[in-house]
Amino acid sequence: MLSELLQGTDVGGFLLIQDSCSYSGRHLLKSFIDAALNREEVVHVLGLDVSEEELKEGLKSFVFQRLHFHDAYADPLGWTDNSPFTVHQFSSSRLTELLKQTAPSKPATLVIDSLSWVLRHISPTAVCHTLQQLKKGGAVRTIIGLLHEDMHSRGIVGSVCRLATSVITVEPGTKGEEALAKITKRSKSGKVTQDEQIFSIRKDLTVTVLSKPTNPGHKRSTTEEQVDPTANLTFNLRLTDAEREAKEKLALPFVFSKEKKTALLHSGPGSGKILYEPDASDDYDQEDPDDDLDV
């Protein structure tokens, strides 16, 4: 599923990459930027977390004319008077205007690095509002955002995740270069698909998806040995086939005939019927009921 998301086929979505301090999601974010640039898309990056040089590091230089970097790293709050982009300009009208300046015809991809910085200065309701309006408006093709989930309370993280069409949570993997991605994708019809994949990112920012992780919880249930209690006993509890057959053939003591069963099951009101069935050893002679008396 990670490779499908990297191909960026769904339009009008909001992809959220959630990371924590144990594993940074910025490498995955750069892979997404790289994939978008290779697809000849115009990419706008709102840089709040890291500087322009650090973000452009690793990206090929010939794609830079399609990459527009709005630097909010140096001066996010506008303390000096000439800041290229401040946090307070994060509103849908301002951003749409910004995007239309550079690519008036094609809708662009907007990358926000990172949403955590925006949420620090602007109220979550305003941020959610802006993201929703950008999603609905036609100026943006997709929004890709990075969110540090350990910086915010569960409620804020949950509220932002509700808006996202796909959420990728990255965690460190078991081996060195690998990382674990938990992907949740919500389709238009409301169907939710989830997946877990191990991936690693190479130097040229291509993502290789490795096999699915083996969940230790699953292992416990499947490899549990079925202990056979009939083994290792001093007496025999098993049945051979012939013995099993004989067991099936045995007539059970309270087996009644079909008529008796139906009569008992569907007994009418006030019926006191006596049903007599002669047993094998019974000597039933209609003529003489006291035949066995020796008189």
Binding site: P124, Q132, R154, G155, G158
Partner: protein
């Protein structure tokens, strides 16, 4: 109103005091006869169907007119949205009027996604039907060799349904035809279309909620749903659907902070909503993303302010997904509150462990019961886990599960 309403087919073996009876009080009908409604057998309230027949049974026959149903959303808002759409689709089929309010999706889009009704109604699901006095008992008798006396006793009746034609069934895989949908009259409130008039007011009410309440009041008064105004010739029910109240898109920071600034915004809105509904012929369904609300006391007061409250907990993404106990179901359903309308005691559902399953033609709510524990190799640890999972789903543990673990 002499229309015979068939009560639920309860087997004769079971006896419970809160049984549905087929007894119909012959009273001079002062109650209104509106299509798609019926009076409750317990207290004479006018009921409408919620769209899901199992949910109707759970709530005592249906939603009473003038009440609010609160649905606490599941994590990805898939099943609560489904119930929301069922409610609106039922309104379209019964020819009620609709009022849809949402902040995330356009109400037009929500209405486009309504499920198609199954109008010939052939498949009325009767799961608890016993094999009656049949003439050919051969196959049934051979089914049980040793325990044949128990042949005719009912199996565990797990699905909850009442057999009246009050509710309809819907096919989830198809959307409702445009002709049926356009025949319905409906009103909309889409939050981004109503920008805040003044910003920075420090009132306990929120701009968005006040605008919503005002819009609803205007619709009720204009279209003649108000009970205080003189009655027009034909009356109808207004079905109000409010999607995701309390989420950040309504401008409410209830879900974001532990100590939200607008603590009383949603609660005062619900208070006003209930007052508005009590004096009009309307029913409301409100969904709230309760999994984001950190303050449990606030969630409790939101529940108290609504009449009926249910919570959906879907298994997707949680560790319960792999639990073999839950493999047939999509999630658990908790009934948080049932209303006491004009009576002292409310109708409580018989069973507290409920699980739901969304099938193509039906949304079933079933009683969760443990299957018989036949394997002897199940170790003690996992037995305890199963019992723990079952009790965690219910407020009181069921007697059957604890009896299994007695060892002599």
């Amino acid at each position: 109103m002499a229309a015979p309403v068939k009560s639920m087919d309860k087997p004769p073996a079971e006896f419970s005091p809160l049984n549905f009876t087929s007894f119909q009080k012959k009273s001079r009908t002062k109650s209104l006869s509106i299509p798609g409604t019926r009076p409750s057998v317990q207290n004479g309230q006018l009921l409408v169907s919620s769209g899901v027949t199992s949910l109707d049974y759970l709530l005592g026959g249906g939603l009473a007119v003038g009440t609010v149903l609160l649905i606490e959303e599941d994590r990805y808002d898939s099943f609560s949205r489904m119930i929301f759409k069922y409610f609106l689709a039922e309104g379209v089929v019964c020819r009620h009027e609709l009022f849809v309010a949402a902040a995330q999706d356009d109400p037009d889009d929500i209405l486009q996604e309504l499920p198609a009704p199954i109008l010939d109604d052939v498949a009325i699901h009767r799961p608890g039907e016993q094999p009656r006095m049949s003439c050919e008992p051969q196959d049934t008798l051979d089914a049980m060799k040793i325990a044949w006396r128990y042949q005719n006793l009912p199996k565990v009746q797990s699905a909850l349904a009442s057999s009246s034609r009050f509710g309809h069934y819907y096919d989830v895989s198809k959307t409702m035809e445009p002709e049926i949908r356009q025949a319905a009259k409906w009103h909309r409130f889409y939050h981004p279309e109503h920008p805040p008039l003044s910003s920075g007011t420090h009132s306990p009410k929120l701009e968005s909620y006040s605008a919503l309440l005002k819009s609803l009041r205007d619709v009720i008064q204009r279209e003649g749903f108000d009970l205080t105004a003189p009655l027009p010739k034909s009356r109808n029910i207004l079905r109000v659907g409010l999607h995701s109240l309390g989420s950040a898109l309504w401008g409410d920071d209830l879900c974001c902070y532990n100590n939200p600034k607008n603590v009383h915004a949603l609660t005062s809105f619900l208070y006003g909503l209930r007052a508005l509904l009590r004096t009009s012929l309307s029913v409301a369904v409100v969904t709230v993303p309760s999994h984001l609300i950190q303050d449990r006391a606030l969630m409790g007061s939101i529940t108290r302010l609504c009449d009926n409250a249910i919570a959906l907990e879907s298994f997707k993404g949680s560790e319960r997904e792999t639990n073999p106990l839950y493999k047939d179901y999509h999630g658990l359903l908790h009934v948080r509150q049932v209303p006491r309308l004009n009576c002292l005691a409310s109708h409580l559902p018989d069973h507290k462990d409920l699980a739901f399953k969304l099938k193509r033609k039906q949304f079933t709510i079933e009683r969760l019961h443990l299957p018989p524990d036949l394997s002897e190799t199940v170790s003690r640890v996992s037995k305890g886990e199963l019992a723990g999972a079952a009790t965690a789903a219910a407020a009181c543990s069921s007697a059957t599960s604890s009896a299994k673990h007695l060892d002599f």
